[in-house]
């Protein structure tokens, strides 16, 4: 086979053309990343990412809030973008932080707060909290946004959990909603049939499932605390007791092993998947709209002996990216709605855009009538028992999530699962 000199030259020419094209494209793509907080003509531009779906009242609230703020502030313009909620809490924000394209203003929640705080990604908002505001925010809630004595986020809402149930199913079975753990187990057993389960609980290995578990740990008298050694105390008898309780519904076949309709969606009750379901104050609106043809009631989460029910309060918080070039302006924006003396927007968020409890006492006091309407009244009754969702390092939450899976599906006892979780969390 003869290779002529000319064809070798043309091969090299082809390779060179390729290399030039490659370099050009790489150069173009690397120059394409947008920097956050770009200014033009002295106007400060702030990037704000939310995750509410278009058409949702929450999305409307955010869009109106941004539009009104931009109208009244000529020197600061908020550029708002809505992104997928699933990606927001997993890959989107961390990768955006990594390549410097994260927004100036973002939402954080207990599952992500410690992660970001540990990495120094959140700006210190302590200077922007007035003394009055600090007094107005419920103390436990203020603690939940504190990291190493600094306030790193602004709480905007509290969403608590309760036990929803199908009133007709209970009446037909001659039962009243449970108040103790023994009653809950007995009711779940009695109401489990060929076609229906007694109780729907979250099952997937996700932070939402863990969110639903905290009240049981606290009601068993337990808690996860950081010891002086730096290790977190997971392996306790109370943890074992709570794990055994949660796992019992799955071991006895009284809870579905898989929820095709989401674990927070009361469609599980409305479509007859289960007679009871643990879900939150955020589903009250659905009982008045989508599922209004089903008679659904709610009671506080049962406690071991029927007294001192405790529930958990989750919810989003607003934070500022520590890498933002305009922390002051970004803070001003979020405090204008949720941290100022004017509580109109903070009220609108928890009463019209969605139903949730506010983080501030003044908002509750000014809207007592709303918080006593329908199922809201029931939630308001046990609102005082709410503890904020804790924010632990990822190794701890992953270990407890695994412990839950072990008791639900792995046939493990609570004690063994707790021991395994302690070892896993210690290993990091």
């Amino acid at each position: 086979m003869e290779i002529t000199v000319r064809s070798v030259k043309s091969k090299w020419r082809a390779a060179l053309a390729l290399a030039v094209t490659a370099a050009a494209v790489v150069g173009l793509t690397s120059g394409c990343s947008s920097s956050s907080g770009g200014d033009s003509n002295g106007v400060v531009k702030l990037q704000f990412w939310s995750f509410y779906a278009d058409g949702d009242p929450q999305a409307d609230f955010v869009n109106n809030w941004v539009a009104d703020y931009n109208k009244s502030h000529k020197d600061v313009q908020i550029v708002h973008k809505s992104v997928s909620q699933a990606d927001y809490t997993t890959t989107l924000i961390p990768t955006a932080l990594a390549n410097g394209t994260a927004p100036d203003i973002l939402y954080v929640e207990p599952a992500t707060f410690t992660k970001y705080a540990d990495s120094g990604a959140l700006a210190d908002l302590t200077p922007y909290y007035s003394a009055d505001l600090k007094k107005d925010i419920l103390p436990e809630v203020l603690k939940s946004v504190t990291y190493q004595k600094k306030l790193l986020a602004l709480p905007i809402e509290l969403e608590t959990l309760g036990l929803f149930y199908n009133k007709d199913t209970f009446t037909a079975a001659g039962l009243t909603p449970p108040t103790t753990w023994a009653e809950e187990q007995a009711d779940a057993k009695k109401l489990t049939t060929d076609k229906q389960y007694g109780l729907a609980l979250p099952v997937d290995d996700t932070p939402y499932t863990l969110f639903n578990f905290w009240p049981y740990l606290w009601m068993a008298g337990g808690d996860i605390k950081k010891a002086s050694s730096g290790k977190y105390t997971i392996d306790t008898p109370q943890m074992a007791k709570a794990l055994d309780f949660y796992g019992s519904f799955f071991k006895n076949g009284e809870s579905p092993n898989k929820l095709q309709i989401g674990p927070y969606d009361l469609g599980n009750i409305a479509t007859g998947v289960s007679a009871m379901q643990e879900s939150g104050s955020y589903t009250i609106a659905s009982t008045e709209t989508t599922y209004k043809s089903t008679s659904i009631g709610v009671v506080p989460l049962p406690s071991p002996d029927g007294s001192n029910s405790i529930t958990v309060a989750g919810g989003q918080k607003l934070a500022v990216n520590s890498a933002s070039k305009h922390v002051k302006e970004a803070a001003a924006f979020i405090f204008s709605a949720f941290g100022s003396k004017d509580i109109s927007l903070a009220t609108k968020w928890v009463t019209q855009a969605k139903f949730a409890y506010p983080a501030r006492q003044s908002v509750i006091d000014a809207n007592k009538d709303i918080f006593t309407k329908g199922l809201r009244a029931d939630f308001t009754k046990f609102y005082g028992t709410a503890r904020p969702e804790p924010s632990y390092p990822a190794a701890v939450t992953a270990a407890v999530q695994t412990a839950m899976q072990d008791v639900m599906f792995g046939g493990m006892s609570g004690a063994d699962a707790a021991k395994k979780a302690q070892a896993a969390a210690d290993a990091g």
């Binding site: 086979m1 003869e2 290779i3 002529t4 000319r6 064809s7 043309s10 091969k11 020419r13 082809a14 053309a17 390729l18 094209t21 490659a22 494209v25 790489v26 793509t29 997993t90 890959t91 961390p94 990768t95 932080l97 990594a98 992660k115 970001y116 540990d118 990495s119 120094g120 990604a121 060929d194 076609k195 229906q196 389960y197 099952v203 997937d204 290995d205 996700t206 579905p256 092993n257 898989k258 095709q260 007859g272 998947v273 990822a394 190794a395 992953a398 695994t402 899976q405 072990d406 639900m408 599906f409 792995g410």
Partner: protein
């Protein structure tokens, strides 16, 4: 002896090559080779995406040697591949042979029906199958009940979860894979088939001795690519089971995803990815060597 065209024609041919190959090669470079190189680089660091990277040398690799969760997840990946690939291949081949017996419009309609799941996104496929898998009220159990079989838990059981996910992946890919094999079968010269028949071979003998050896390149392609795909399964598992119940479906790639994005351990995740890459490379090379040897024998 081959001489290459000279002068202007040579330049035009080279330019044509660059024009056709260039865009894809650039894409490969930017979206495949560079990220792989970067991942190898990051694997020697500790990095949570937000704070600066810290050099840790081989610490990540030393850690994964004793990470039992990682090796268990790799075991599940292997289990997935060992069950999925042979079943996919045999069923797709059977389907392809069946299609050769059909003709006309009926054939087109049936082939389209089998191909349609391939066009469904994994999220929709997962949601659809989750409803079919509903334990008390799903269609599958209703059908089994008619046959006197009690309700099965499917994705709600540690023993059935992985098989249930494999069923969904099979459903998605069967049609497309059978098309590949059908195309190869159609390439087999008709004269060879006729010759075998004239020699007295029955349909099965003809297939096994004539058709099957001649479609070996496509068969190997299908086996190699479906093995790689089995090792890379993530989206269907994320939507259907999130790795549960109790880690029953936590395969290698999902473990890497969780370590990287939920625990923000990018350095460790990159080291795991490199190991996964090497394993896949070895498996692919073994499978390719198998075809080269048998081609020489043929």
């Amino acid at each position: 002896m081959t001489t290459y065209p000279r002068g202007r024609r040579a330049r035009r041919d080279s330019l044509a090559a660059v024009a056709f190959l260039g865009p894809d090669l650039v894409g490969l470079l930017v979206f495949v080779f560079l990220p792989i190189a970067f991942a190898i680089y990051v694997s020697f660091f500790s990095w949570n995406l937000i704070s600066p990277m810290q050099f840790v040398g081989l610490a990540n690799y030393q850690r994964l040697l004793t990470d039992s969760e990682w090796w268990l997840s790799l075991g599940r990946t292997l289990q997935f591949a060992v069950i999925y690939v042979p079943i996919l291949f045999v069923l797709a081949l059977a389907l392809a042979v069946g299609f050769t017996k059909l003709s006309g419009r009926v054939s087109g309609v049936i082939r389209t029906a089998y191909l349609m799941p391939f066009a469904v996104t994994s999220v929709i496929a997962s949601t659809l199958w989750l409803f079919l898998y509903q334990q008390k009220t799903g269609y599958l159990n209703a059908f089994l009940n008619l046959l006197g079989i009690p309700d099965q838990p499917y994705v709600g059981s540690t023993s059935q979860a992985i098989a249930s996910v494999i069923a969904v992946v099979l459903w998605t890919n069967l049609g497309y894979t059978s098309m590949l094999l059908l195309a190869a079968i159609k390439q087999v010269p008709v004269e060879l088939i006729e010759a075998a028949r004239l020699d007295g071979a029955n349909a099965w003998r003809t297939f096994w001795s004539v058709t099957f050896p001649l479609i070996r390149p496509t068969s190997v392609f299908v086996i190699v690519t479906s093995t790689i795909a089995a090792f890379q399964i993530l989206d269907i598992i994320l939507v259907m089971t999130s790795g549960g119940p109790a880690d029953a479906t936590e395969v290698g790639v999902l473990y890497i995803y969780k370590r990287s994005f939920e625990r923000l351990e990018m350095g460790y995740g990159s080291a795991l990815s490199v190991v996964m890459f090497v394993i896949l490379l070895v498996i692919s090379l073994i499978q390719l060597r198998f075809t080269r040897r048998s081609n020489l024998e043929a």
